[in-house]
Symmetry: D2
Subunit: 306 residues, 4 copies
């Protein structure tokens, strides 16, 4: 790989209107482990395959949606450098004041798209981590959809060109694929800080601070089929899929958790490299890029966000 300063999107906090049902869904259908509750009642999760204390937090709220995503950076020194670089880029930075058990200092700021982005360098290991000594692939067979990791998220908001500039110039990410409008304005960008096809993506959208989906990684196409079987069995509201993205080449299914946030389960995707040429999409073909089997845009995909 190349020189990048962010390791991964390590923490996402989502608002849910029905905490109890959403918790049951993340636990029993997605198959995440409940790590515990914060003192103010938010519920923490991690996948069976993650090492950090927790990666997903659900917060009861009157409206579902996105609170923030936090990126883990390589070390404390880099964290301070990135704070300074973020301020130099023009975004005032604060220190997160809400409790995230196990997590060290988190800097946060509001991106031009209206989303809160956080950076941190330190987090405790979870109690329930994968085996380290002569490890089996898993301690117990994964449950539910067998989500392996919180993988990426897609945010909708205004002025994504600036957001992409922040993630590349300040955080050192690169974008393997992108779509501009016919007049050259950024419409959709997929960004990664490593070899994963994407860590975060943006779509240009008038309303700020909205989220299209957050995604969990599954083993392969067969796991996508198994997830779909559970969607059928549990009467989950499906959005699109099983299908393949031409963009990133991943295999996917989208659905809505009980509070209405869209979730993707995603598998495959190419290994991204910063020296490879970028793949470019035109707006008239982006539907096929998103849904390769359908060959066209699914209306709900652009219209339903939280």
């Amino acid at each position: 790989m190349a020189i990048t300063k962010t390791i991964r999107p390590g923490l996402i906090q989502m608002r849910v209107t029905n905490l109890e049902e959403s918790v049951a869904f993340y636990r029993d259908v997605l198959g995440l482990d409940v790590v515990g509750k914060t003192s103010d009642g938010r519920v923490m999760f991690k996948t069976f395959d993650e090492f950090d204390h927790h990666s997903v937090v659900l917060r009861a709220a009157p409206e579902s949606g996105f609170d923030y995503v936090a990126f883990k950076v390589t070390d404390a020194e880099t964290l301070e450098e990135l704070k300074a670089a973020t301020e130099a880029f023009g975004y005032p930075v604060d220190i997160a004041s809400d409790e995230q058990p196990g997590y060290g200092k988190r800097y946060g700021f509001t991106l031009c798209t209206g989303h809160r982005i956080e950076l941190y360098a330190e987090v405790d290991m979870a109690e329930n981590i994968p085996m380290l000594l002569n490890p089996d692939p898993w301690i117990d067979p994964p449950r539910g959809m067998k989500a392996q990791r919180f993988d990426h998220l897609l945010l909708y908001g205004p002025n994504i060109g600036e957001a992409v500039r922040y993630f590349t110039e300040v955080l050192g990410m690169f974008y393997p694929e992108y779509c501009n409008t016919p007049d050259g304005k950024p419409f959709a960008y997929w960004l990664t800080g490593g070899n994963k096809a994407h860590d975060i993506a943006f779509v240009e959208y008038e309303k700020p601070n909205t989220i299209h989906h957050h995604a969990f990684y599954l083993e392969d196409w067969n796991a996508i089929g198994h997830a779909a079987d559970l969607i059928g069995k549990h009467r989950v509201k499906r959005d699109v899929g099983p299908t393949r993205h031409a963009i990133t080449r991943g295999q996917t299914i989208y659905f809505f958790e009980p509070s209405g946030n869209r979730i993707e389960t995603y598998a495959g995707g190419y290994a991204a490299y910063p020296d490879n040429p970028k793949r470019q999409w035109t707006v008239d073909e982006i539907g096929r890029g998103l849904f390769y089997y359908e060959g066209e845009l699914i209306p709900s995909f652009l219209e339903v966000v939280t």
Copy 2:
């Protein structure tokens, strides 16, 4: 991801005793594209999914085996830094004099294990690259075993502790898994410069400059099964698999190409992160680590190298 200076193992040159049969095998069974021949008759290949000029070279020789592997580094400046750091580490560095069409300057040196390692920063793009504008996943359905990329290699040789030190301290890689002997000596190490589970691995072995296998990446477990179908159909000499590695968690099948070099087709594997704790194997359990379904070491695995 984190700060690493190498992008990937981008080029491997292998010796083959039967050039014609081995070329047919790489082309028709593995499914690589023949890029062309060097002026001295070596044959260049790339996968359908690679962008660089070529990634695999076969050279006719009286004995099969390994010539060298070359790692692509981030840029020309880094290349010079790494040259200096390699010399400072104690390895004399030369400039490769053999022709590799499309490749810029390559520095090379002999690792303590007896293997020639090269570094380069520049290589032309191939003529036949994946689509860039509104891309389909592939231009034509992949042929043969549908190899997606030259993925990694496993070298056998003496003093691998020093080799690991070179790859981590100089090249900036890290090792997600390792196995030491009961008295604490390095026995087997898996190293990566990015999120792939491994780019290169080493096993301690008395004879220098030997190779266990080089590996190509397939899409998933089903592609492993398809590769195995072709092994049956083409009467390929199978070594082990289809099976799963507990180490890296990848799914795999090993076999021998017509000149006797062992090849692996590999799928899956976890996303490696430098901040995750390392997985440790003991020698008495390494058989299960390598072959999770068999639960024990396959004798040929340690005995047959080229």
Copy 3:
């Protein structure tokens, strides 16, 4: 199995408005072999895995749609018995006069639904059959969608209760699943003469002699995904899927060949046994029964027939 007199639906003839494009589709996308042409220009096909002379015939016509399906029965004596029983059931029987190379005598009649059904006992083997001596699974890797066999068909027409009675009482088939309207009228029935989940199915529909789809069998869910990749690549008009039927439990994708006939590629499905209790669907849940992942009826599924 039990006592049944029909072996399988062995021959289907379809009308196509664009013979050239449809032939190319069956050959290159579905992956069937062109067996040859009849003297009047119809094109015969078989899958790589079928033994009989041909199983699919395309006939150029001003409107796409269904000509007839023919069932192979166990022997010549049974054929005569079934002719008599068909006439006793009330359907006048004729001897088919159109050329089907390799086929022996075919009796035909018009079912109450308006469809022509044929019965035959003898057909020559194809020249290009699967291996018989120490056979590989296939002579060459299957092409395109890798269709293994003409599997079943779904006909739409009036008075399907009588059709079901004919297929069970005369031909000895049974129906593992069915759906009646709330007032007890037959709405949809799936029938089989062996252990396959279905050989033929009927849906009650005002317009006679219409066909919903004919289907080809694929190896598994992964083959369904591969078929979907080809749908994307070849810009095939997809209808529904990849998804699972709760009915028969098969995995599926529907799409339209260039002349507008709907084709299904289908995998899996339970082993049907005549002694097992029948599965029953209510009309309000049949959408979920057909499309288990979508959980509801896809409008085109009931509206588009040829």
Copy 4:
């Protein structure tokens, strides 16, 4: 299908030296449901997908091995016909006196190979059957290896030519594949009474009344991989696989349950038809026929029976 009188092998009783461990294995690793115990302590099982009262019985005994297999026939009248035909064939028939809860009258006899074979026409439905009204594919996600049904068995014993003659002439089965020795003596035959690739198979072997394996059906190649993951996790003694049979074309893995009986988990396989030509194997190629990926016979396969 054609006229056959047997529906399926519906019941197998096996002897196990360690009842407790074997019961735990069938329940937790294979994923069968424990139906209950007979009054003399034998343990009854069925798969999640079977309708009959139970299909597998384990009996504690000093030596592991095969007690008997029972075939379900179409009806009571056929049962009596088959009793008479069996006696006419030369085998004295008795009425089984051991308790099999839920089962009606069972006729039994000793085949020339030394094995007890039984026939029955009636059995109660199990309490825990698959859904019948608007059914989901399963009530709960299948456990363990997700065995779908008791599928077939392979018996070793002398004079299998006579056994094949009994199963074809009396029971009406047919053999899609077979292997004779160079001097034309039957060596291995695969027999089916329906469209499944095999219901029972025989290999010529000096010692009478021995069993090679009994097999459970899994959904597909991916389920075979999942079964193999559990073999690794539970440290099950694997025999062969994951691999493909060229014979029947099924995908497979063999392993030993705690009492030493060999079990196969099997997926796929072609649809067998009585009118298709038979596939023939020569003894020198049968290794490849059994293990298509290995391309040769695995020694344990012929040597270890119970």
